[in-house]
């Protein structure tokens, strides 16, 4: 067996892969958070809960309607996205002119509400969701075994992140969104319905969370607490990448997943805190984040 720095290669690669998979979830979730923060200027504390709801919607679609994984991957983000747009239209918009703290409190309350609701009905044990048949098994890469589903998660998140980046940075709609982030009033004065744009952005952001939730369902158990377990780490990653930076959210998501994986190999005890250590260092050295613009 080959060794690298005294660690067997399959172990190292295995942990790096787990890190990369975690990083994929971090990236998709922090991307949604960054989008929402950019245009709505609120820290969306309900993001983790909506990720959990996304997984549950996939579970319920299968359990009640017999709708499988592939349709759920499209349907769940749409359902949760519409739910998010209703939240924005009827709750967040009412407090948009108030201090940002109110947005934080409102979304935090929503998160508790959603988690409590699912906990009441499904308990904390979690439900299992089978890997779709076409993605069972895996590939032997020689130095390690790559499960097909994990490869798919990685590919799907990279594609979704790239597509979202393209939408924001390369299209007319994206230019309008970036302009509205800078000066919403002026964009309205050009005749753009900015409130509608804000609603759609929130829908897109939480739709991404739900997409991550469906991807996660077969890997982790579908559990009412799955969102609150991951969201704190995702917040740290958004801070590291730079609040509101799309590119920063994507790149730091993947990087910090890898970083976590590496730490697990060399000093497993620190793997749960490494991201927060990085966050502390970044905040000291570059308070605006790795890709953020200084205010």
């Amino acid at each position: 067996m080959m060794d690298l720095l005294g660690i067997p290669v399959p172990v190292l690669m295995g942990q790096l892969l787990i890190g990369l998979i975690n990083g994929a979830f971090y990236a998709v979730l922090s991307l949604g958070l960054a989008l929402i923060f950019g245009l709505l200027n609120i820290v969306n504390f309900a993001h983790g809960a909506l990720y959990m709801v996304g997984a549950f919607v996939a579970f319920l679609l299968l359990d009640i309607l017999g709708i499988g994984y592939w349709p759920a991957l499209v349907l769940s983000p749409i359902i949760v996205g519409i739910f998010g747009m209703l939240i924005e239209r009827f709750m967040l918009r009412r407090i948009a002119d108030l201090d940002h703290l109110y947005g934080l409190l409102l979304t935090f309350g929503l998160a508790l509400l959603l988690e409590g609701l699912f906990r009441q009905v499904y308990g904390v044990a979690g439900e299992t969701y089978a890997i779709p048949e076409s993605l069972q098994g895996g590939y032997n890469l020689g130095f390690m075994f790559l499960p097909a589903y994990r490869a798919w998660v990685l590919a799907a998140s990279i594609v979704v992140c790239a597509a979202t980046w393209y939408l924001i940075e390369m299209t007319r709609l994206g230019a309008t969104m970036r302009a509205a982030v800078e000066n919403a009033d002026l964009v309205r004065a050009f005749g753009v319905n900015v409130p509608l744009l804000v609603t759609l952005t929130y829908g897109l952001g939480v739709g991404l969370a739900a997409f991550a939730g469906v991807l996660a369902a077969p890997i982790y158990s579908v559990n009412p607490l799955m969102g609150s377990n991951i969201i704190i780490v995702v917040f740290a990653i958004v801070v590291i990448g730079g609040l509101g930076s799309i590119k920063g959210a994507i790149i730091s998501g993947f990087l910090l997943g890898l970083c976590e994986g590496l730490t697990r190999v060399f000093y497993a005890e620190a793997s749960n805190i490494i991201i927060f250590v990085v966050m502390a260092i970044v905040l000291i050295v570059r308070p605006a984040g790795l890709f953020g613009k200084a205010a």
Partner: protein
């Protein structure tokens, strides 16, 4: 006298509790350049922000082509055919020059084509890929004017387009605004620079303490030069 494009009647406005416009009255005839003159803080910029709908706390009447606009929101007002070029120019730093130029959506047919805009502002074609705020002050002002010409809006609200610019650039901007009038645009121009306003305007309204206190046709300016200088404190 040509038909009235914009009519402002007894317009009052508030920033929070402070009452800043106290019954503005003026009208903008179609195809003319009308200026609002006055000292800093007289209420000129506020008047433009009321017309485009960015100041919500407003009362009175603002009619555009006969339609009441006072209760409408900014995006609806803009869609009816009014374009706004703000004092601080409002060039977006996260957008390229071209993206800035293409940002305002079409609100009516008959907007200026990109080719025609590049004829008027050749520099914008050269610098298309640059970040919007990397342009010089004069170029940014040209971009701010250029981007509202594409939309098809026929009434342009220009807030101090010459502020902080070198005389040679002011001259160029004056030529451009003049050629816009020749192309049939109606322009409401807020200016502190009276020499520029005098050159451009077909009629002038003097604003003080949120009210129009005097008005002059182009032909009356010469005879009232001292009076106007007194109003503006120059």
């Amino acid at each position: 006298m040509p038909e009235t494009m914009l009519k402002v009647k007894d317009l009052h406005a508030w920033y929070g509790e402070s009452h800043v416009l106290h019954g503005m009255d003026f009208e903008v005839p179609k195809g003319e350049i009308v200026t609002l003159l006055g000292r800093n803080g007289a209420g000129k910029t506020t008047t433009l922000r009321c017309i485009i709908g960015l100041l919500k706390k407003r009362e009175g009447s603002i009619t555009f082509k006969g339609e009441e606009m006072i209760g409408q929101s900014a995006n609806v007002i803009a869609r009816s055919g009014i374009a706004f070029c703000p004092e601080e120019r409002g060039i977006f730093s996260s957008l390229s020059v071209l993206e800035n130029l293409l940002l305002p959506p079409k609100v009516a047919e008959g907007g200026m084509s990109l080719e025609r805009i590049y004829e008027l502002f050749p520099i914008l074609k050269e610098r298309g890929k640059s970040q919007g705020t990397k342009l010089s002050g004069g170029e940014q002002q040209m971009l701010a004017i250029a981007r509202i010409l594409r939309s098809g809006a026929r009434l342009l609200l220009l807030d101090e387009p010459t502020e902080g610019l070198a005389p040679v650039i002011v001259q160029q901007i004056g030529d451009i605004i003049g050629s816009l009038r020749d192309e049939g645009f109606t322009i409401l121009l807020v200016e502190q620079n009276f020499r520029f306003a005098e050159r451009m305007g077909d009629r002038h309204f003097v604003v003080e303490h949120g009210q129009v206190i005097d008005r002059f046709e182009r032909s009356e300016v010469e005879a009232n030069r001292e009076k106007i200088a007194g109003y503006l404190g120059v």
